[in-house]
Symmetry: C2
Subunit: 209 residues, 2 copies
């Protein structure tokens, strides 16, 4: 029987856990209690293993945080590295990046939630916030480029536009249920429809109706 990669990884760690599954549980606990309020003892309790068994998977609580933030930030940065983010009209590139961001939020919901709630109290947190700012800055530049090419309205300050776009998209971590009837694709369609074209039916469509 061919073993899957997951089975191999489990085999190398403690019975029942590999690093990824320890991380999944840890991220849930961090989101519930806050990173700082979470001790290795609380983590061990939630995992149902001893503290020393956790150290078998990761050297410290900080490493769990670093790995978790890498999962969120690495996925977001991969969206920007796709050629569709850098080739073509700016509004199409912006739409591609926003759709990709929604997909990452839905796929890695607890990881992105952790990233969005960071306060920057430690070096690891500050590094992550710096990478998030760089990501946000790149999107703000796309907004600027789309305004300059004349495809986005010019009466809203581009920095405010970028904040509203991120505010709208990031708010989905508060309510989105992965695996439910609303797929990430339909959610991205809805968000792009509202943000780019607005909720109002065009006057023309209203006359026809």
């Amino acid at each position: 029987m061919v073993k899957t990669k997951d089975q191999e990884t489990v085999r190398r760690g403690r019975p029942g856990y590999d690093q990824q599954s320890v991380l999944n549980v840890a991220v849930g606990v961090f989101n519930k209690h806050g990173y700082e309020a979470t001790s290795m003892g609380i983590l061990a309790e939630n995992l149902g293993i001893s503290k020393s068994a956790i150290y078998h998977h990761v050297p410290s609580k900080g490493d769990l945080l670093r790995l978790a933030l890498e999962e969120a930030l690495g996925s977001l940065e991969a969206v920007l590295e796709n050629p569709s983010a850098s080739v073509g009209r700016a509004d199409a590139r912006l739409e591609f990046v926003l759709r990709g961001t929604v997909q990452v939020l839905c796929d890695k919901l607890p990881y992105v939630t952790l990233l969005l709630r960071l306060r920057g109290n430690t070096e690891i947190e500050r590094d992550a916030l710096e990478r998030r700012r760089t990501f946000d800055h790149t999107v703000a530049e796309l907004v600027d480029a789309a305004r300059t090419e004349g495809s986005l309205r010019g009466d809203i300050d581009p920095r405010i536009t970028a904040r509203l776009l991120f505010g709208t998209i990031n708010s989905i971590v508060e309510w989105y249920k992965p695996g439910g009837p609303l797929t990430p694709q339909k959610l991205a369609d809805d968000l792009i429809a509202m943000m780019f074209d607005g909720l109002h039916l065009p006057a023309a469509a209203r006359v026809i109706a």
Copy 2:
């Protein structure tokens, strides 16, 4: 010399503080440390007065929370009680309510922030969350009515539409600076422009440009 209401209120309380100014400081501390993690001792330290001096203004920490949430919820509910929220076309009523919500968020930023971060661990918090749900439900009904009258697009589920509207508006508590160059009125204009008409320039405007 005619005394203002504020001076009268201060005179009745401890020197330098009235209930409202104790509340302002308490809300800031709750938002920084979390309500549960804030002890009366931490509050006293931030106010620069003794614990017993706080009890001169309010009977308990719970009363501070209740008063603070009342300030946010009472202001939001007052928007719905305005005749403009119940008379006329549904899309105009919805726009009125969303503009009023933005104004309350900007005017009472720390109070609304406290409301938005509630977890519902106590009776006071659960009551506040219930009132917030009722508010949200009324707005969702307006979205529904606007769809039915044919002024809002029908391809987005009205519950998702309501969530996106609130997500967008509520996200401003994360970055809005009261008293800065962006007035609540201009922010409301920007939000309504994006949410109702979209960021894309209409094709007609682009042809002209």
